[in-house]
Amino acid sequence: MTIASSRSIPGLAALALLSLFAASAAHAGSQCTTQPRTAWQDADKFQAELKSQGYQIGKFKITSGQCYEIYGRDKTGKKVEIYFDPVSGQIVKQESR
């Protein structure tokens, strides 16, 4: 394979770029709501409510995907990372270990 196949380099590069875009689309974090901040639950009350349900909150964040996110432990003591819809308070995504 010589000169002719060096023409396929732009094609391969395009393919690589395309897969990078596809991957970065998959890479974007969860989107939890599109509602304005005024419609969101109060962050402090929201955390207090979670604590009353037995969660321990180590870190609380507002993500770029408009989620309330906590790192902490659930009531069984398991480490959890949970994304919540800040309007409804519903769990959007949960990781645990």
Binding site: A23, A26, H27
Partner: protein, 171 residues
């Protein structure tokens, strides 16, 4: 084994590392368990590669990977003038690009593991470090592909073909 061939083990290693890194990257959000295991698998492959380099005294050994800085500068200067010598093995820039990527894979896996521990669960500095290392890796990967592209043009051989045929070309 002919000196002109890339060992099957290296080709499988390359494929596995590519799948491990790209897979882990793509699955970070949708499938966390796979993300973690692909990352650890990539690190294991790198450890294997570093050990394999110890067992070889040819183009796949440490001598071929650890080029003295003077050789790197000289090669870079020659390359800029379009006069870099062509050879079968890693050129000095490629050797450092590869060593840096191998190191980054280990650091990415180590920081990723740290993020699963009690100490760093949700730790923003460690998350930032993990992400920064991945960005650096992606940049080096871009340079790797650029080098393969330039080498392919210069040598008029489609260098990635070596990955499935095993046949090398001076580049």
């Amino acid at each position: 084994m002919s000196a002109a061939r890339m060992p099957l083990a290296i080709r499988l290693f390359h494929g596995g590392l590519a799948v491990g890194f790209i897979g882990a990257w793509a699955l970070e959000s949708p499938w966390r368990a796979a993300h973690e295991w692909l990352g650890y698998a990539a690190a294991a492959l790198v450890l294997w590669r570093l050990g394999y380099a110890l067992s070889r005294a040819d183009d796949w050994g440490w001598r071929a990977l650890l080029k003295p800085p003077q050789a790197v500068w000289r090669y870079a200067a020659q390359a800029l003038r379009g006069r870099a010598p062509q050879a079968l093995g890693y050129n000095p820039l490629a050797a450092w690009n590869i060593l840096a990527m191998l190191t980054l894979v280990l650091l990415i896996a180590a920081s990723g593991f740290a993020l699963t521990t009690d100490r760093f669960w949700g730790d923003e500095a460690m998350q930032a470090a993990h992400a920064l290392l991945v960005d650096a890796m992606t940049g080096l990967l871009g340079l790797h592909l650029l080098g393969v592209g330039v080498g392919s043009m210069r040598s008029r051989h489609f260098l990635p073909r070596t990955l499935w045929s095993g046949e090398r070309a001076p580049h």
